[in-house]
Each structure stands twice: as structure tokens, then as C-alpha cells.
């Protein structure tokens, strides 16, 4: 697609970059609207309620109405706040989550920027989110916000280690850190997905339990990185009111919200791309219609949404962990497992 655009507008035309960058933004906003609605409906049905029913058919435009409401709200900046940090924080957070979309392959024809360091870039840039949260917590000059921010940063930084360790297992198997190349390598039938050991002969059966462990660790850490239950202690409502965004209102609050939901999809999309073949159809090329670019996007969306559904499912079922238990899970359970797992996969690749 980049090639096509360059032919259209000419080499290195600014329009090429803009038209490559805009689709993820539109997708992100549309997705956040849909996901908020989805979360409401999923939680409502799990709790024997109906959820939003009045705004539009079954309340489908409820989130749009909420955005309109948030736009009208007074923009309050506390007198004692650090104005610069306070204003900047939502945007830093938002940029962190938006930039991660640049390297997510939406289909075989579209990836925002097909740099060969894709995975590395995503891991690096998504850390920007924690900078934004710390800015928000510190800038608000509120004790609850500060506690939320400190918790959040401690949590995100800790959980990045097991995340990277399990991502490395895939990188070792695929031999590349270009996300598009990793997805392309999983072509064909669904047993070529990395959750089933990736492409290869019968010897890959050894990998099955290892990849399952990898996936479970990745999924748990992704919950922690996006501050979802049972790891939602940075914004633990019953303890810290709303954590780092206690003092935010109106559109600034909406930006945090948007960024949170965008992050949810980003981690789910990475889970789908790494372990479940990304945009690959489960039937490979045996049903050609299901592997056209548009259908690829649909598969990708379906897989991503499934993981988001599981995230919501967990959120409305489980209670919340405590700070020390959260750190215990990370440092004493996930990291040792991830390390052993990484060594085992490396050993497999060497011996094969």
C-alpha cells in the first residue's frame, strides 16, 4: 500500500505519510467508541442487567452521546496543579498508545509503517504511556493521583520484563522482529500459528506446552500493562477513587479513556499477531475468498475482539489483587517461568 501511495503522490510526498498515518487514528477512535459500548453491554449481560437501551437501537449511540457530553464539559484545571504537566499528560499518554498502532499489521496489504524493528518499536513506544501517567499523577497535585501514578508506573515497568521475555520466544522461532514478517510466517492452515508451535513438521509438538505457557504469561502481563482487572490497582476505585485521572474532566479525561481502550486493542492485536496468526485466515489459501485483504482485516479484528471480550469477561468476574501480590505474581511467578520457557524454546531452536 505504501508503494501504491508513493506511486500516486510521488516519492517522499508528505501526503504519503499522512494517508498512512490516518487510518489507525480513525480505527482507534471508532474502536474505542465500539469497545466502550461493548464493555457496557458485556458487563450488563453478565450482571443480569440490560445496559444502555434508550439512545438508539439497544443504546448503540450511547458512547457517542457520552463523547458529546464530555466535549461540553467545563475544562477544570486545579489551582494547585502543575499546569504544563497537567495539560500535556493526556496527550503524551495518547501518543504512546497511538504510536504503537504504527507497526501493527492490519492485513497483508496494510501496516502503518513496515519497519523491520516493529516489535521492538511497539515495546519501546508503549512505555511512553507510563510517562504520561506519571505526569498526570504528579501534575494533579493530588495524593490519590500520585499514589495511582506511582502504582501504575511500578506495575507497567515490572510487567514489561515478562512480556518481553515471552515475546522473545516468538522472535527466536520466527527469526525476525518485524511483526508483518512474523504474521506472514504463520500462513497456511491454523496449525501453523505460533500457539501451535508455528510452521514445521511433527517435531514442533514439543513446542505446544511451551507456547501455551508463553501465551498465558503474555495474556496475564497484557492485562497488567493495560491496567485491567485483576491488575487495575492504579485506578482501584474503592481505594484511590480514580487513580491518576482523579482530577481530570471533560475531554482530557476522555483522552485517558481513549488511550486505555486503544491500549486494550493494541495488546490484543499483538497477542493475535504473535500467537494466533494475526490477519491470517485459519484455513489458509484453501478457501481463497477468506484470505483476501478485506477478509484478512476481518479475521484480525475478530481475533483482537475475542481477546478483548476475554479481558472484559475477566474484569467483571474477578476481584482485584493487592500491590504486593501483584509484584509477587510478576517477579516470583511470571518471570521465572518466562525465563525457563525462553531457554527451552532457544534449546529447541538450537537442537532442531
Amino acid at each position: 500500500m505504501e508503494q501504491f501511495l508513493q506511486n500516486l503522490f510521488g516519492q517522499n510526498n508528505i501526503l504519503v505519510y499522512i494517508s498512512m498515518a490516518v487510518p489507525p487514528l480513525i480505527f482507534m477512535i471508532a474502536f474505542a467508541l465500539a469497545a466502550v459500548y461493548m464493555e457496557r453491554k458485556v458487563s450488563a449481560h453478565m450482571q443480569d442487567r440490560l445496559g444502555p437501551m434508550l439512545t438508539g437501537w439497544h443504546g448503540v449511540i450511547q458512547t457517542v452521546a457520552d463523547i458529546v457530553k464530555l466535549l461540553q464539559k467545563e475544562d477544570i484545571i486545579p489551582a494547585a496543579a502543575d499546569r504544563k504537566l497537567f495539560i500535556l499528560a493526556p496527550f503524551v499518554t495518547f501518543i504512546g498508545s497511538y504510536a504503537a498502532y504504527a507497526c501493527i499489521p492490519f492485513s497483508s496489504q496494510y501496516v502503518g509503517s513496515s519497519i523491520s524493528l516493529g516489535l521492538f518499536f511497539i515495546i519501546a513506544i508503549s512505555s511512553l504511556v507510563s510517562v504520561g501517567l506519571l505526569m498526570a499523577g504528579w501534575g494533579s497535585n493530588n495524593k490519590y493521583s500520585l499514589y495511582g501514578a506511582i502504582r501504575s508506573v511500578a506495575q507497567i515497568i515490572s510487567y514489561e520484563i515478562p512480556t518481553v521475555l515471552v515475546i522473545l520466544t516468538i522472535v527466536i522461532l520466527a527469526g525476525t522482529i518485524d511483526l508483518q514478517a512474523i504474521v506472514t510466517a504463520q500462513g497456511g492452515w491454523f496449525w501453523n500459528w505460533y500457539i501451535f508451535g508455528g510452521p514445521g513438521g511433527w517435531e514442533k509438538l514439543i513446542l505446544l506446552p511451551l507456547m501455551l505457557i508463553s501465551f498465558i504469561i503474555y495474556y496475564v502481563t497484557s492485562l497488567a500493562e493495560t491496567n485491567r482487572t485483576p491488575f487495575d490497582i492504579p485506578e482501584a476505585e474503592s481505594e484511590l477513587v480514580a487513580g491518576y485521572h482523579t482530577e481530570y474532566s471533560g475531554m482530557r479525561f476522555a483522552f485517558f479513556f481513549l488511550s486505555e481502550y486503544a491500549n486494550m486493542f493494541a495488546v490484543s492485536a499483538i497477542a493475535a499477531s504473535l500467537f494466533f496468526g494475526g490477519w491470517q485466515s485459519p484455513f489458509g489459501d484453501s478457501i481463497p475468498f477468506l484470505n483476501t485483504p478485506v477478509m484478512q482485516f476481518a479475521w484480525f479484528l475478530l481475533k483482537g475482539l475475542f481477546f478483548i471480550f476475554v479481558q472484559m469477561w475477566l474484569r467483571w468476574t474477578l476481584p482485584r489483587l493487592r500491590v504486593d501480590q501483584l509484584m509477587y505474581v510478576c517477579w516470583k511467578v511470571l518471570i521465572p517461568f518466562a525465563f525457563v520457557n525462553l531457554l527451552a524454546v532457544a534449546l529447541y531452536v538450537v537442537l532442531k
Binding site: S43, Y144, Y147, E237, S238, L318, R320
Partner: protein, 372 residues
């Protein structure tokens, strides 16, 4: 290496905070995440209940007692009318006794539902909260068809009741008992035996039995510490000695006796026992009148009386002094939550902020009754 300077932070939790269960203000001294001290500040909901009583006639006070523990208004009324009847030395008809017991036990179930539900919410699980609120609705509906009110009933009157139960009440209550019994197990599976919930509440906020007795704790807080004391059994009032039920105590099943998990589990078990009492009372209930004949102006003889009854939160005592006029000279209330809350500073020290919320939730306080 220079010492890193660190200082304690004082955080005001409340009066507007999601998990202080009302307008309680906690002055929390924190060392990082660790609670150094937590001092409750009361009085945001103070309405001069005891002073008001001096200006009211005896029946007029009943609606005020409702507004103390508004989550368990029936139990509050029950204690007050018991006191007045003892003061006047009246014996109420059998049928009234049975209806009162049924109402009080239904109220106990409703109150424990709120307690367990909001406790789950404090720990971070939102769904059990809504499950229990859905079913609490069914209890409130039973109250509604009986006396028209859903929260503050003014149902138990001195010497009787405001209304008899409607014709379909017994049938509906039986349906509720049948429906609700499995729900308790469902929520226990979903919340109480959940691994994360156990991790969060077991071995947290341990209240030893001797401390509990010395501080005067009562209700599930006392029984959670393993003390088998329930006024319905140990000092039976009304007709509680006719029913067969167990007193549930904390056993330290998941941790230590007297931790948050035990206190919560006692409430779960008590709901089962209440269902037993309701079933027995429905079976035994006689036909008859629902009011004792009383003079229009209630004038108890000169004297004083103290009665104590078991509300869902613990022991409520009414100390009434009568000077022979239509209004009492003094009404003193011994509230359960107020006493239970006084334990908070002793059992929170050294725990984390998240535990503070867990401990506060396990005490199951209602501010309307603490501040009065």
C-alpha cells in the same frame, strides 16, 4: 551515601470516598503504602436522634429508629418496640411475634446481601454486588406488598403492626426462600471462595477474640473472631427460643480466626440460618389479631428499661427512661456499628491501603447509625 529523606503522608479518606460506606472520614497516616494509623472522624450524618426523642411521643420515635440503620430498618424498629413493650409490660399477640421475626430475618438477609455485595465491590469484584442487589429487590418487594415502603418501614408499632401481611405473602416468601438458597452458593463460588478474594481477605485485619470482647464488638464482627454469642440464642427475646438454628462463628477456614474472610463468611452462613428461621416461622404462624388493644395516647409508667436485640450488624440496645408522660425522658442507644468501628484503628496498623479498605468493609458499618 546520604539518607533518603522520607516522610509520612496524611491522606483524608472521605467523607466523599467510594469505600467508606457513607460519610465517614478516615484520617490515614501513610508510610508509602503502609497504614501507620487510621483515625475515624464521625459526625457528618449526626441528626440528634437522642435529643429528638425527648420531644417526640413514643410512637413518633419509630420512624426515627428506621433512619438509624437504614439498611436494616426493621431490626431497628424491632428493638425499639420490644423496649417500649417491656416498659409498658404488654404482651403482643402470637401472630405479631411471628410476623416480626419473619420480617427481622428477611431484613437480616437483605442487610447481609448489601454487606457482602459491597464488600465484594471494595475488593474489586463488581458483579456479585449486582447479583445480590437483584435479589435484595425481591426482599424489598415482600416488604413493599406488606407495608408499602421499601426502605424505611414504620411497620412495627408498639403493641402490634401497622398492617397485617397480605394474602399472598406466605406463598411469596416461600418462593423466595426456595429461590434464594442456591443463590447463596452461587455467590459463594463466584466471590467468597475466589482465590483472589481469599488472598485479599484471609489473614488480614485479625481481631483476636479477647480484643473483640474487651472492645464490646458484637454481631458478625464478634462471631467472626470465634466467639459463639448471639442474642437470639443467649438472651432470647420475642419468640426466638422456639426456632432451631445454629450460631455461625468464624473458624479460620482460609487463614486465622478473626480475619476479614471469617467475618464475611459468618454473614454468608447467617443468611442460610435466617432462611431456616423464616421457613419454621411460616410453618408455625397462627391466625389471629395483629394489634393489642392500647390507649390512643401511649403513657408508659414511670421507670426505666434496657433491651438488647440482635440486628444484622450486632447488638442494639435501647435504654429508655420514662417519667410517665407521653414522651420519654431519655432514650439512649447502644449502636452496634459505632462500637465495631472503634476497633478499626487497632486492626489496621501495619497493613496496606488496600487492606484498610478490606478491613473497613468487613466491619460492615452504616453511618446513619454511627452518627445518629
Amino acid at each position: 551515601m546520604p539518607e533518603i529523606k522520607s516522610e509520612e503522608i496524611i491522606v483524608n479518606m472521605g467523607p466523599q470516598h467510594p469505600s467508606t460506606h457513607g460519610v465517614l472520614r478516615l484520617e490515614v497516616k501513610l508510610d508509602g503504602e503502609i497504614v501507620v494509623d487510621a483515625i475515624p472522624h464521625l459526625g457528618y450524618l449526626h441528626r440528634c436522634f437522642e435529643k429528638h426523642c425527648e420531644a417526640m411521643t413514643y410512637p413518633q420515635i419509630i420512624p426515627y429508629t428506621d433512619r438509624m440503620d437504614y439498611v436494616a430498618a426493621m431490626s431497628m424498629e424491632f428493638g425499639y418496640v420490644e423496649a417500649c413493650e417491656k416498659l409498658m409490660d404488654i404482651k403482643v399477640p402470637e401472630r405479631v411475634q411471628y410476623i416480626r421475626v419473619i420480617m427481622a430475618e428477611l431484613q437480616r438477609i437483605a442487610s447481609h446481601m448489601v454487606a457482602i455485595g459491597t464488600y465484594g465491590n471494595d475488593i474489586g469484584a463488581f458483579t456479585p454486588f449486582l447479583f445480590y442487589f437483584r435479589d435484595r429487590e425481591k426482599v424489598l418487594e415482600l416488604f413493599e406488598i406488606t407495608c408499602g415502603a421499601r426502605l424505611l418501614y414504620n411497620y412495627m408499632w408498639i403493641g402490634g403492626l401497622s398492617h397485617d401481611i397480605p394474602h399472598n405473602f406466605i406463598e411469596k416468601t416461600r418462593d423466595f426462600v426456595k429461590y434464594f438458597r442456591p443463590i447463596i452458593d452461587e455467590v459463594n463460588n463466584l466471590l467468597v471462595y475466589n482465590k483472589i478474594f481469599v488472598e485479599r481477605t484471609a489473614n488480614i485485619g485479625i481481631l483476636p477474640a479477647d480484643v473483640a470482647i474487651n472492645t464490646g464488638a458484637s454481631g458478625p464482627v464478634l462471631r467472626g473472631s470465634g466467639v459463639k454469642f448471639d442474642l437470639r440464642k443467649d438472651d432470647p427475646y420475642s419468640i426466638y427460643n422456639r426456632f432451631d438454628f445454629d450460631v455461625c462463628i468464624g473458624t479460620g477456614e482460609q487463614g486465622t480466626v478473626g480475619d476479614c474472610w471469617d467475618r464475611n463468611k459468618v454473614r454468608c452462613d447467617e443468611m442460610v440460618e435466617s432462611l431456616k428461621i423464616i421457613t419454621q416461622a411460616l410453618d408455625q404462624m397462627p391466625e389471629g389479631d395483629i394489634t393489642e388493644t392500647l390507649p390512643k395516647r401511649i403513657k408508659p409508667p414511670i421507670g426505666e428499661v434496657y433491651t438488647r436485640t440482635e440486628t444484622p450488624k450486632g447488638e442494639i440496645g435501647y435504654y429508655i427512661i420514662s417519667d410517665g408522660s407521653t414522651s420519654p425522658l431519655r432514650v439512649k442507644v447502644r449502636p452496634p456499628c459505632f462500637v465495631n468501628l472503634s476497633i478499626l484503628p487497632y486492626i489496621t496498623r501495619g497493613y496496606l491501603i488496600a487492606d484498610l479498605v478490606a478491613i473497613l468493609g468487613s466491619l460492615d458499618i452504616v453511618l446513619g447509625e454511627i452518627d445518629r
